[in-house]
C-alpha cells in the first residue's frame, strides 16, 4: 500500500515536471522569436527579452521551491504572516509581467485582518505563480477588462488570499478536471489557459506542502484562485 502511495507521488511529481517543461517552452520561444526579430529588423528590445527570461526563471524557482517544501514538509517554518504584506510584495513581483501583457494590476487589501499562519516565501511564490498564469491567459480570454486583482477577504473558514479577474468560466470543476488531466493533457485547464497551466499546478503543490488548499473563490464580482489561511492564534494571547 505504501509502495503504491510512493509510486503515485512519483508519478504526480513527474506530471508536474512535464507541465513545467511544457510551460517553459513559452518564454523560451518568445525570447527566440524576439531575438530573431531583432536580427531581422535591427531593433532588438533587450528589456522585453530580460522580462521574459525573468518570468521563466521565476517559474523554475517556484517549481523548485514547491519540490523543496514538499520534501521538507515536516520541518516547514509556519509563522504568523501579514496577508496584506504578502499581497503587496506579490504585486511588486508581478508588476512587470502584467505590464508586458497589457494587464492592469490592482491591490485590494482594504480589510484589516490580523496575521495568518503560513510559510511566507511559499505563500508568496504560490500567489506569484497563480498571478502569472492568469496574466498570461487574460488577453486570450476575451474578458471585458484586462485587470487582475490581488485581494484578501474574510470567509467562514478563515482569511482568503487570492488572485481575481473577470473570468466567469473559472469554476471548481475547471480546477478539479485540471488536476485530473495534469501531465496527461496538453491543456488541462482548457477553459482558463491555452498552455499547460503549470503556474496553477506549481501553486497547488506549494500550498499542499503547507497543508493549504488551492480553491476557486470569488471576490465581489470577480472569479479567481486562492487559498484559505487560518488566523494566527499567537496574536490572541497578546
Amino acid at each position: 500500500m505504501a509502495r503504491t502511495g510512493a509510486n503515485n507521488s512519483a508519478i504526480l511529481s513527474q506530471q508536474l515536471l512535464l507541465s513545467v517543461t511544457e510551460q517553459l517552452k513559452v518564454p523560451l520561444l518568445q525570447i527566440a522569436r524576439e531575438a530573431e526579430h531583432g536580427q531581422l529588423s535591427g531593433t532588438t528590445d533587450p528589456v522585453k527579452i530580460q522580462l521574459t527570461a525573468e518570468s521563466a526563471l521565476q517559474l523554475i524557482d517556484n517549481y523548485a521551491l514547491g519540490v523543496r517544501l514538499n520534501l521538507e514538509q515536516s520541518q516547514l517554518e509556519i509563522e504568523p504572516v501579514s496577508v496584506a504584506s504578502v499581497l503587496y510584495d506579490t504585486g511588486q513581483q508581478l508588476d512587470s509581467v502584467a505590464k508586458s501583457y497589457g494587464v492592469d494590476l490592482e491591490l485590494n487589501i482594504a480589510g484589516r485582518f490580523g496575521p495568518v499562519m503560513a510559510h511566507r516565501e511559499g505563500l508568496q511564490a504560490a500567489l506569484v505563480s497563480l498571478g502569472t498564469s492568469l496574466i498570461e491567459a487574460l488577453p486570450a480570454l476575451q474578458t471585458k477588462q484586462l485587470t487582475l486583482q490581488l485581494a484578501t477577504h474574510r470567509c467562514r473558514y478563515g482569511i482568503v488570499a487570492g488572485v481575481y479577474a473577470d473570468i466567469e468560466k473559472l469554476s471548481s470543476e475547471t480546477l478539479r478536471q485540471g488536476r485530473r488531466l495534469q501531465g496527461k493533457a496538453r491543456q488541462p485547464l482548457a477553459t482558463l489557459t491555452h498552455n499547460s497551466g503549470a503556474g496553477v499546478f506549481v501553486a497547488d503543490a506549494i500550498l499542499q506542502a503547507m497543508d493549504l488548499e488551492l480553491k476557486v473563490s470569488r471576490h465581489h464580482r470577480l472569479y479567481g484562485l486562492g487559498t484559505v489561511l487560518q488566523p494566527s492564534q499567537q496574536l490572541q494571547l497578546v
Binding site: 518568445q30 488577453p139 486570450a140 491543456q187 482548457a190 477553459t191 498552455n195
Partner: protein
C-alpha cells in the same frame, strides 16, 4: 503583399509575428480565440491564416470545422503553426490536410520567423 490572420493566444508571440510580417510589407490581423478569429475572417478576408491549435475553450480544430462550413471560406489557405509536435497529429493527418484543408503543419519551436515568412510567401504565390 498579403493580408494575414494570425490566430495566436499568446500576446507576446502574436505581437512579434505581426510586427515581422508588417515590416515585410504584409498587413496583419491577430485573433486570440476561435470565436474572434471567425469575426476577423468575416471582417476582412485573409489571404493566409496562421493557426495555433491550442486555444482557450474552442480548439484550432473546432475553428477549422467552423471556417470550412462556410462555402466562401473553404479555399482560404490555412497553415498550422503549433506548439503541438506534428507526430501527435499523425493519426489525424488526413482529417487536417484533406478534410479541413490545412496546407502545411509547422511545429512552432522549430519554425523561425524567416521560415514562416517563406512558407507564407509560398502559399500567397500559389494563390496568385
Amino acid at each position: 503583399m498579403a493580408h494575414m490572420l494570425f490566430i495566436e493566444p499568446d500576446r507576446k508571440l502574436a505581437e512579434v509575428y505581426a510586427q515581422t510580417f508588417n515590416e515585410s510589407g504584409h498587413s496583419t490581423q491577430v485573433a486570440s480565440s476561435a470565436q474572434s478569429a471567425i469575426l476577423a475572417v468575416d471582417d476582412q478576408l485573409p489571404d493566409v491564416i496562421i493557426l495555433e491549435l491550442q486555444l482557450i475553450e474552442h480548439s484550432g480544430v473546432e475553428f477549422l470545422y467552423e471556417l470550412r462550413s462556410y462555402p466562401e471560406w473553404q479555399t482560404i489557405p490555412v497553415v498550422v503553426l503549433s506548439n503541438i509536435p506534428p507526430n501527435e497529429f499523425d493519426s489525424s493527418h488526413d482529417l487536417l490536410m484533406n478534410e479541413l484543408g490545412v496546407r502545411a503543419y509547422h511545429y512552432k519551436p522549430r519554425t523561425s520567423l524567416t521560415k514562416l515568412l517563406s512558407v507564407v510567401q509560398e502559399h500567397v504565390a500559389v494563390k496568385a
